[in-house]
């Protein structure tokens, strides 16, 4: 799958571990910057920088409430990543569907060994 080389796609935006931590926190609900600073143990300028990258790819949305700016996760923007992994997941699912059949067979064989094997 072709991917842009800049931070303007979701893949690169979440490639940074700290940004993934921010997304994890926001997955639990909307938060002001100060909460993120406290929870992640990062300086505010760093958190703001990460939030800016995440906003650029649409992974987080922001709204003003009084004097606070509240950030929240926008899962839709992360869908390309989800879709990317789904194809890989599918090939394992197909592999395991066949394993199910093999297991059923050796299970019956094992049960048969103890009794009247066909």
């Amino acid at each position: 799958m072709a991917r842009a080389a800049t931070t303007t796609d979701a893949f690169n935006a979440v490639a940074e571990p700290r940004r993934r931590e921010i997304l994890d926190v926001l997955a639990g609900g909307e938060r002001p910057v100060n909460d993120l600073v406290g929870l992640l143990g990062l300086a505010q300028p760093q958190v703001s920088k990460h939030l800016r990258v995440l906003r650029e790819v649409g992974a987080v949305d922001v709204r003003e409430e009084g004097r606070q700016r509240l950030y929240r996760l926008n899962g839709q923007a992360l869908k390309p990543i989800h879709d990317w992994v789904r194809g890989y997941e599918r090939s394992w699912s197909e592999r395991f569907d066949r394993l199910d059949v093999v297991l059923e067979e050796i299970k019956q064989k094992e049960q048969g060994d103890g009794g009247d094997d066909k």
Binding site: M1, A15, G87, R90, S91, W92, D100, V102, K107
Partner: protein, 165 residues
């Protein structure tokens, strides 16, 4: 006859930049899942999924022993993987390296796979943790799976289309 024991799809997550974690539950005790995972004749029957026929499944199941799987994909090209067993706890855990024999001369990176078998109420949860050393290798690993998935989708589509003709 098809066994109606499918326990849903495999779950794939990316715990870190270098990892892939695959989880799936099976309706069988773990010694049987382990047997199906480590017996060449049985591996040959499921490992390639719908992607082709397996022609080689060599398993030297001991620490330091080698394994090698080869499948012939639709279109006739061979896809091969090999590695070495690093840790073996029968019915519980296998740690093994995995190298995709991709393009000669192009290092694809060696992954370390940790396979665990956990049983509860006669059912087994299988997890495969794939640990790459570089994010690029992890990503291309996922891409290769995805391309295969797309190919299968196209093949199926073609079959459906032909049946309608």
């Amino acid at each position: 006859m098809a066994a109606m024991t499918s326990s849903g799809t495999a779950q794939v997550t990316l715990p870190t930049d270098e990892q892939i974690l695959i989880t799936r539950e099976f309706d069988a005790p773990r010694h049987l899942v382990y047997e199906a995972y480590t017996t060449p004749e049985l591996v040959k029957r499921w490992w390639s999924g719908h992607r082709g026929e397996m022609t080689v499944a060599e398993i030297d199941l001991r620490v330091g022993g080698a394994w090698r799987y080869v499948m012939v994909a639709e279109g006739g090209f061979e896809v091969a993987f090999h590695g070495e067993y690093r840790e073996i706890v029968p019915n519980e855990r296998i740690v093994m390296t995995e190298v995709f024999e991709g393009i000669p001369g192009v290092p694809g990176g060696e992954a370390l796979n940790t396979v665990t078998f956990t049983e509860a109420d006669g059912r087994t949860t299988l997890t495969v943790l794939v640990q790459h050393t570089r994010k690029e290798d992890r990503d291309s690993h996922i891409n290769s799976g995805m391309e295969a998935g797309l190919q299968e989708a196209m093949d199926l589509l073609e079959q459906v289309a032909l049946s309608l003709a």
